[in-house]
């Protein structure tokens, strides 16, 4: 077909129009980058940060509050020459720092575009007010104070278990896709991390329009798409702030843990991991992080829930209860002890006390030999086919007390502990090549047995309750927060509840028999308080023994169950028993009748026993 010229002209014009339309289609419909660029130029998205939920103690005292501060933000593209000297004076920063920051912004100017970037973090309201005056007088285009709240700690209580809040890093953001943006804060450890979803609240956003001179013109769509911040929920903990603070002071300059539980609820009253992070350092974690991370005693490590230790003689209570339930032991059963338990050419030593003794006395005096006999009779019980089966049955009993696995508390990094199984020994010695005497040290909570201080506190609470426990936890039900119903369920052990009162008498006598009676924990006695306790002196491969003590009080209707674990503290009665006893007394009466003992404990310094290897 031969086209006439007039048609060709028309086609040519049509093609030109089509080219325009196709190009328009490509930049308007196919390519969405213009939209983003336009938005970043003309819209300012002002995040409205919610107030983080407050953390309170069981009595409503604020453990973790909020205080106001400002982040100084800047839009580098619109900053003109400004009075650096005045700026640095107001905020007390180096000129070099400001210069360095602006060089950094200049290097990334393409990426930053019209966005606001952080210049100074968390300046005080006072400094900000001074700066606002400066803003009014001078040419500080492009500067802006973003209100933030940061954590404030009215009590020096619970640093380690509260955890800290800090700005999210790239790694954190990628692990929580879609939840965080750079500049957001999040709880990184402890309760702040566990309850992050409740505490953080919901961020709001105000979208403002700005013109090409970076002046704000007003809200976008009259604020139709703006959202307000929703404050985080408050968390009520089970912690008693006063008691926690007292516990921390008692554990100062010692390495170890102090855990107190309300037996009737499983609520953790106090949980000290020493050394712990001072709340002052917690508030400004960025500054102290390196120092804390380098400390050989690991202050950021919550040893009360994560640390694994031999329970020592406290574990005898478990064996005693199992023996009773298995019927191989009665309160009247007597065993001899001549400075220990002798088998073959070996001896498992014991201290000097009268012999033979019955069950109550074995608890009161903490006889090693007695429990060797108990365990031996248990493992050689003819009711079981062989020792493997007997040990397996023993394991089941021990597990039912919470040992050997996570208790299920609301701490994230709970230690499981270790309870040896037949498989453990078959692996070490070979099947059939081990017998009761081979593993006799587990009778006194040594050898392969390991648990956390919280396990021990839970044992104490279980005995206090005469046979059951509630899973220890530190968050209470409160408005808007519902804790897992499992925390309200009684956890029974496999030992019949009728057996518990039998050992409690022994624990009472261990504390309340008076000096010279042979009771191991006489130092823990408080007139009229009926503290029931059990000492432990756990041997460790290196250095002095660990000092251990569990107790509860009063004997009837116990209000508090405590476990104290002092690393390299020596006898249980030396450090752990007085500390636990003071804590009990403080909780029940609010003061102490033994100021001298209290002073000795508060001032006691065991840190010299820890080589400060750096």
């Amino acid at each position: 077909m031969k086209l006439e010229r007039k048609d060709r002209v028309l086609i040519g014009i049509g093609v030109a129009a089509l080219v325009l339309i196709v190009k328009l289609f490509s930049i308007q419909v196919l390519d969405s980058s213009s939209k983003d660029k336009a938005n970043s130029q003309s819209m300012v998205r002002m995040p409205i940060y919610p107030n983080r939920g407050v953390i309170k103690d069981r009595n409503g005292k604020v453990l973790v509050g909020n205080k106001m501060c400002y982040d100084i933000m800047v839009t580098p593209k619109t900053v003109k020459e400004f009075d650096t000297t005045a700026f640095c004076r107001v905020f007390n920063v180096d000129k070099e720092y400001v210069k360095g920051k602006f060089e950094e912004f200049a290097a990334n100017s393409r990426r930053i575009g019209y966005q606001q970037v952080l210049l100074l973090r968390q300046v005080t309201p006072e400094a900000y007010t001074a700066f606002a005056e400066l803003l009014a007088k001078n040419d500080f285009d492009g500067f802006f104070g973003q209100p933030r709240t940061i954590r404030q700690y009215p009590y020096n209580a619970g640093g380690s278990l509260l955890g800290y809040v800090s700005e999210v890093d790239a790694n954190y953001i990628s692990r929580h896709p879609g939840e965080y943006r750079p500049g957001d804060y999040a709880g990184m450890t402890g309760l702040e991390a566990v309850r992050e979803k409740d505490l953080r609240g919901v961020k709001g956003e105000h979208i403002l329009l700005r013109n090409s001179k970076n002046q704000i013109e007003g809200p976008y769509r009259d604020g139709a798409e703006d959202t307000e911040a929703i404050p985080g929920k408050d968390i009520v903990t089970t912690i008693d702030a006063e008691l926690q603070n007292y516990g921390q002071r008692l554990m100062k300059n010692k390495v170890g843990s102090l855990v107190a539980i309300e037996p009737s609820t499983g609520e953790i009253l106090t949980l000290v991991s020493s050394p712990c992070i001072d709340v002052d350092k917690l508030a400004d974690i960025g500054k102290y992080y390196a120092e804390l991370a380098k400390d050989p005693q690991k202050p950021m490590y919550n040893r009360a829930v994560s640390g694994l230790y031999p329970p020592g003689s406290c574990f005898k209570l478990v064996n005693c209860l199992i023996g009773l339930d298995e019927g191989v032991l009665t309160p009247q059963t007597q065993y001899p002890c001549s400075m220990g338990y002798h088998f073959g050419n070996h001896r498992l030593g014991c201290h000097a006390h009268k012999s033979p003794i019955n069950m109550e006395e074995s608890i009161m005096m903490s006889c090693n030999a007695y429990y060797c006999y108990v365990l031996k009779t248990m493992l050689e019980n003819n009711n079981y086919e062989n020792i493997d089966e007997a040990l397996r049955a023993w394991d089941e009993y021990v597990y039912s007390f919470g040992f050997g696995h996570n208790l299920g508390s609301d701490f994230p990094s709970e230690g499981k502990g270790n309870i040896p199984t037949p498989e453990t020994y078959n692996r070490v010695y070979g099947k059939g090549h081990w017998k009761a005497n081979t593993i006799i040290s587990i009778s006194i909570g040594q050898g392969e047995v390991a648990c956390t201080p919280m396990h021990l506190a839970n044992l104490s609470a279980t005995i206090a309750n005469r046979g059951y426990y509630y899973i220890p936890h530190i968050v209470k039900d409160s408005e808007g927060i519902e804790i897992d119903p499992k925390y309200h369920e009684k956890q029974y052990t496999k030992v019949d509840t009728t057996h518990f009162h039998k050992i409690i008498k022994g624990m009472w006598r261990a504390v309340n028999s008076g000096f010279g009676s042979g009771g191991t924990a006489s130092i823990a006695a408080v007139e009229g308080m009926d503290i029931c306790g059990k000492t432990g002196t756990a041997q460790v491969p290196h250095g002095a023994d660990n000092s251990v003590f569990i107790c509860f009080a009063p004997m009837d209707n116990p209000k508090i169950a405590v476990a104290a674990y002092v690393e390299h503290g020596g006898f249980g009665a030396t450090w752990a028993a007085p500390i636990a006893s003071l804590l009990v007394e403080k909780y029940l009466t609010g003061s102490t009748t033994r100021p001298d003992l209290e002073q000795r404990m508060l001032q006691g310094d065991l840190m010299y026993r820890f080589p400060s290897k750096r």
Binding site: A17, S42, R221
Partner: protein
């Protein structure tokens, strides 16, 4: 006289209503979008400082102009006044160079108190009329050199004057008159030559003269061989030569990069390809003489022009074009990236248009155009507002409206029995097309930034009046015929 009056058709039946409606729609779209660009700073419409208000006044006066053209001025007068008008306007074009104030480097505005007038705008009308007059009166068929010379002179005189005013953009619009000349009989090769020159210019600037020459060679050989069914010979002879040249180019660059100071560096690929082109020209010349093949001769001429162009590009680019013009072209071609300075307008304009998406952000809801991110918002870059607020749908509608207007003009022109009217219609259509393509092209990064308005839509009285007159003179001429037939 009375008899004629009674036999003539009424106004309503003798004008092209589609044309008039598309005109009215476009000026309405214009004032609406001008209001959109200023509504944030001046929400009131009827205050004199608002550009939308002023534009309403310009539109009112434009409509008066249109009515005067339709009902007062007898259409027969245009042909006779073409020459005097052309001369007067040309005189003004030259005069303005000497009396005008310097407006951003250009000298093209007469200022009488509050009113400014750009003779270049009027020149579109006078040149169109003049061109129509000479083509129809002198019966130019473009078979002889004389015809080319006359038409060329009519166009080149105002072009040179406008170039001297430093209004390169307005000057480029006159290139559009090639469409008119094409319709009236000049060889299609002139258009092809224009296309090839643009390609050569772009390739030379962006890449290397080598590639430009290679493209000329490929086009020349293909256009000679393919129509004569000698494609196979082309593959046997020219194709290997092209491959060899490319290979040599690559090898040369590799070697020179590795050993910067070898004597091999003197054997530049450009020399080789120049030699090849020369050989080709000689061969075609001899063949052309022998077989009396005009096409071969034309090819030789075109190769010569193109090769000359290609070699001259760096010179033309650096010496003739101003610094900012060079930059605009370099930005367009992606040779330099400069989102802040020369590229700022285009970057911002593309962001504004691109952010509109398919349906736009809604009238008066544009952020980029409202808050001053796009410069020259209500004049040269008015299309950004349309793009941002009405999106692809709105842009397409506006472009189609222009196409409708242009098509109605061309249709009327073709139906006319008078050559004068036809040529004039084509002139109007060419002006509109050039403005449309260059203006929208620059806002979306298809054309370098050339400061010419979007006809009927951009803010400004001078341009609106000129286009109104341009279009309605055609309507009047068209109606003049329809009235009686």
């Amino acid at each position: 006289m009375i008899g004629q009056r009674t036999s003539q058709r009424s106004f309503a039946k003798s004008v092209d209503w589609l044309l008039i409606i598309s005109y009215l729609l476009l000026v309405t779209i214009g004032v609406m979008n001008i209001y959109s660009t200023v509504h944030y700073s001046t929400p009131e419409l009827f205050v004199w400082k608002s550009r939308a208000c002023k534009q309403l006044v310009w539109i009112a006066t434009a409509i008066i102009i249109a009515l005067v053209i339709l009902f007062v001025i007898p259409p027969r007068v245009y042909e006779p006044i073409s020459l005097p008008l052309y001369v007067v306007i040309f005189f003004l074009l030259v005069l303005v160079i000497f009396v005008s104030r310097d407006v951003k480097g250009s000298h093209s505005w007469f200022t009488f108190g509050p009113i400014s007038l750009q003779p270049a705008e009027l020149s579109k009308i006078s040149t169109s009329l003049m061109l129509s007059m000479v083509i129809s009166k002198l019966d130019l068929r473009f078979k002889t050199f004389r015809d080319y010379a006359i038409a060329g002179a009519v166009l080149l005189l105002p072009m040179l004057a406008i170039l001297a005013e430093s209004e390169t953009g307005s000057m480029l619009v006159y290139v559009g008159f090639l469409l008119v000349l094409y319709r009236e009989g000049i060889s299609g090769w002139w258009l092809a030559l224009l296309g090839i020159i643009i390609v050569v210019f772009v390739v030379t600037l962006k890449y290397d003269p080598f590639w430009a020459l290679l493209i000329i060679g490929i086009i020349a050989t293909l256009s000679n061989d393919l129509p004569q069914n000698k494609g196979r010979r082309w593959f046997a002879v020219h194709f290997p030569a092209i491959i060899a040249l490319i290979t040599y180019f690559i090898v040369y660059n590799k070697v020179c990069a590795a050993h910067p100071d070898t004597t091999f560096a003197y054997f530049k690929p450009i020399y080789l390809i120049l030699a090849c082109m020369l050989a080709l020209m000689v061969a075609y010349l001899i063949k052309g003489f022998r077989t009396v093949n005009a096409f071969k001769m034309v090819t030789v001429a075109m190769i010569a022009i193109c090769v000359g162009m290609s070699l001259a590009v760096p010179f033309v680019f650096n010496k003739v074009l101003k610094d900012y013009q060079q930059k605009r072209i370099q930005v367009l071609l992606g040779i330099i990236e400069d989102p802040r300075d020369a590229g700022y307008n285009v970057t911002q304009s593309k962001i504004a248009i691109g952010s509109g998406g398919f349906f736009g952000k809604g009238y008066l809801n544009g952020t980029q155009s409202t808050f001053g991110f796009v410069p020259e918002q209500s004049t040269d870059f008015i299309f950004c507002t349309i793009g941002e607020e009405t999106g692809f749908a709105g842009c397409t509608a506006v472009i189609l409206l222009y196409v409708l207007l242009i098509w109605r003009i061309l249709r009327g022109a073709e139906k006319s029995r008078e050559r004068f009217t036809r040529v004039y219609g084509y002139c109007v259509a060419s002006c509109l097309t050039m403005h449309l393509v260059i203006n929208i092209g620059m806002t979306i990064g298809l054309m370098p930034v050339i400061g010419i308005p979007l006809p009927l839509v951009s803010y400004g009285g001078s341009s609106l009046w000129a286009f109104t007159a341009l279009i309605f003179i055609f309507v009047a001429l068209d109606r003049n015929e329809k009235k009686y037939f």
